[in-house]
Symmetry: C2
Subunit: 235 residues, 2 copies
Amino acid sequence: MTYIRPDVLEAIRRCRLWRRASDEVVQRLAESATVRDEPRGALLAAQGEAAERLGIVVVGKARVYHAAADGRTMAFETVSAGESLLPAAALSGSRYPANVEASTPVTIAWIHRKEAFALIAQESDVARDVIVDLAHKVVELTSMVTGFASDVPSRLARFLFNRSLEVGTATPAGLSVDIGMTKAELASALGTVPETLSRAFARLRDDSVLEVRGRTVLVKDVGALARLGSGYEES
Amino acid sequence: MTYIRPDVLEAIRRCRLWRRASDEVVQRLAESATVRDEPRGALLAAQGEAAERLGIVVVGKARVYHAAADGRTMAFETVSAGESLLPAAALSGSRYPANVEASTPVTIAWIHRKEAFALIAQESDVARDVIVDLAHKVVELTSMVTGFASDVPSRLARFLFNRSLEVGTATPAGLSVDIGMTKAELASALGTVPETLSRAFARLRDDSVLEVRGRTVLVKDVGALARLGSGYEES
DNA sequence: TGCATTCCTTGACGTGCATCAAGTCCGGTA
DNA sequence: TACCGGACTTGATGCACGTCAAGGAATGCA
């Protein structure tokens, strides 16, 4: 039996997609994985490339973003240890729709799509979880698409509202929400640029919806936030 | 054994999602379905509503679109007989992200999500097909999101390029492509309005990329189309 | 032939946003 | 303390696009 790095096995074990898989098949998956270490800044997957493998982050963080022909970029997500990189691209067998870049030095375990399918064929609980996960992603992306119909302040309001459900903490002065990234990254995630994001924050501040304190936002009027965002968040 | 309308059974049998399922389980699925006839214009599913069931169109066509708070709408797709309505919403168990409206008189077979999961648990080929389908949808939506970073002429170019791969026919004067819907519908599908779409067509015409002849477009310079669209189409 | 309806195009105008260009506010370092 | 660089803000400008409004152009019907 081949040696498997314990951190690799643990990262694969922790991955949501096959969280209900038996230890035995996870072990087999880990044996089939190709493990690679990459320095900060390395391009782990390029958009347009055939998606044959799906990556699990073992150590570090990776940023998923799309680069347009004119050089502008749009951030999708930042993936940490135990999470998977563009699983949908690998499972669909099409091409990567985005770039993946190491934002810290990373270790990635690459799993070939046919191994993933072998696992799924064997354990129907896993198949169900994967289906539910992908379906959620579809719903989320759908509401992202419709979100682009509204202006930046509304998209920001929606983001803050959803984020407050996750990490908001009540304080006497209001709901405190940490945005968890730099404002430049947030701007990119909302499909805009830092200047416009700054103006959107200023506007919400002037309407006394919130106060900005560095990377944390003090929401004074959650109702206004929900009203402005007026979208349907998932589950 | 309960009576099953033959057209209902056939529509369910034709559905891509379980195309490799055995006749036996499809039969059971059909038995569990709730069949309803609705007049043209009826709202079949409302955005925000809990997605407990997935619909199969048996007769007619249904339009899937998102309505924003300000009244503007965005078309996602038009679903015909044998295709499913918002399957991802039902499988994820979240809320419908869009409205579904009957664009002709329709017959819909509604299947509860737990029936769909029962089928999936039983036939692993079906599970795999569903996963691949959903994963494709994720990739497609991802490139839809990134598409919103480009302007309307580019989005139109990308649409025409992809469409030409499906229905384009070569003629002496160029590649003839039928857009397959009214220009108002196309505008909505591209996330814009008819006026702007019209100007986008005019611009491509002025750059001698194409000629417009009603609902069919004569592409004179496919390369320019691909260059302008410069996206990655799926599989 | 005339009329109505639907679909599409063109023009004029206002606005939201990206871009470029200065600042301002920090934390780190010597 | 002084200095520096990155993160953020603010202002000025131009452009793409949505909106309102006014025509065509094609089709169906009497």
